[in-house]
Amino acid sequence: MSPFAEYAISALLLFGGAFTLVGAIGLARLPDFYTRLHGPTKATTVGVGAIMLSSVIYFSAIGEGIGISEVLITVFLLMTAPVSANMLAKAAMHIGVETVKDTKGKPWEQ
């Protein structure tokens, strides 16, 4: 493997790891359920995206063909993450989870 590929893989892994860590910190630090929804759903998009990209580079560099399956994983993830976030938000609204006091606006009742 060329040193350039190694540097690129390490950089992408660190970058993705850092974003996933920030998402986890957000889960702990943000004040209420709705704001916590943002942390993990976002970390997956960029964090996992970067880690997948490094995996694609690795398998291309060792000559096992380009990893189309990694691209598929990313696509599936991007398609399912909004749906699960939406279901969580809907469920929270349904059972009336409390929001932080300074939230502007209100969830609906319907």
Binding site: K42, A81, A85, K90, G105, K106
Partner: protein, 162 residues
């Protein structure tokens, strides 16, 4: 009885077949047969859940839209990461977004886009499909977010679907 043997959504069937070939690590006789069965069975089973086909979709605009969304995801991730790490408290808000799109598929694409771009999650669609409830992590002005979503995402989607 012959409509049971047809492919109600040829494009969906094609995507399913191709995806299965990629997943099963190369095309072989077995994967082709199973891919064919899946390409027939899944559209048949999910047929009832699909909204009616839009009259005209300018699909060639889709790659630009996807590139723009990917670009926004990366840009906005940094601002959300910064917001999580900074000591300042975010100002969360529920925003009612007035929808101009009418087609259900277009609305669900817009809602998914809003959820994917960091800082906003779409929480609910009103029963009459006219309003979208968005939860924003940090909103200094609701109008700004509504304008940004309209200009960046809804307008191109309207052009694609109408």
């Amino acid at each position: 009885m012959f409509d049971r043997l047809s492919f109600p959504q040829p494009w969906l069937s094609l995507v399913l077949f191709t995806t299965w070939q990629i997943l099963s690590d190369g095309v072989s006789g077995g994967s082709a047969v199973l891919g064919f069965i899946l390409a027939w069975l899944i559209p048949q089973m999910t047929h009832g859940f699909w909204p009616e086909r839009p009259a005209f979709v300018k699909t060639w605009r889709m790659p630009w839209y996807i590139l723009r969304v990917l670009n926004d995801i990366i840009a906005a991730s940094f601002s959300v990461a910064w917001l999580i790490l900074s000591p300042r408290k975010p100002q969360p808000a529920f925003i009612s977004y007035p929808l101009k799109l009418e087609h259900p598929l277009a609305i669900s694409i817009l809602a998914s886009t809003i959820s994917l771009t960091p800082g906003t999650v779409s929480a609910d669609v009103s029963d009459d499909n006219k309003t979208l409830l968005i939860h924003a992590l940090d909103s200094s002005s609701d109008e700004e977010i509504i304008d940004a979503i309209f200009n960046r995402y809804e307008k191109p989607l309207m052009e694609m679907f109408q």
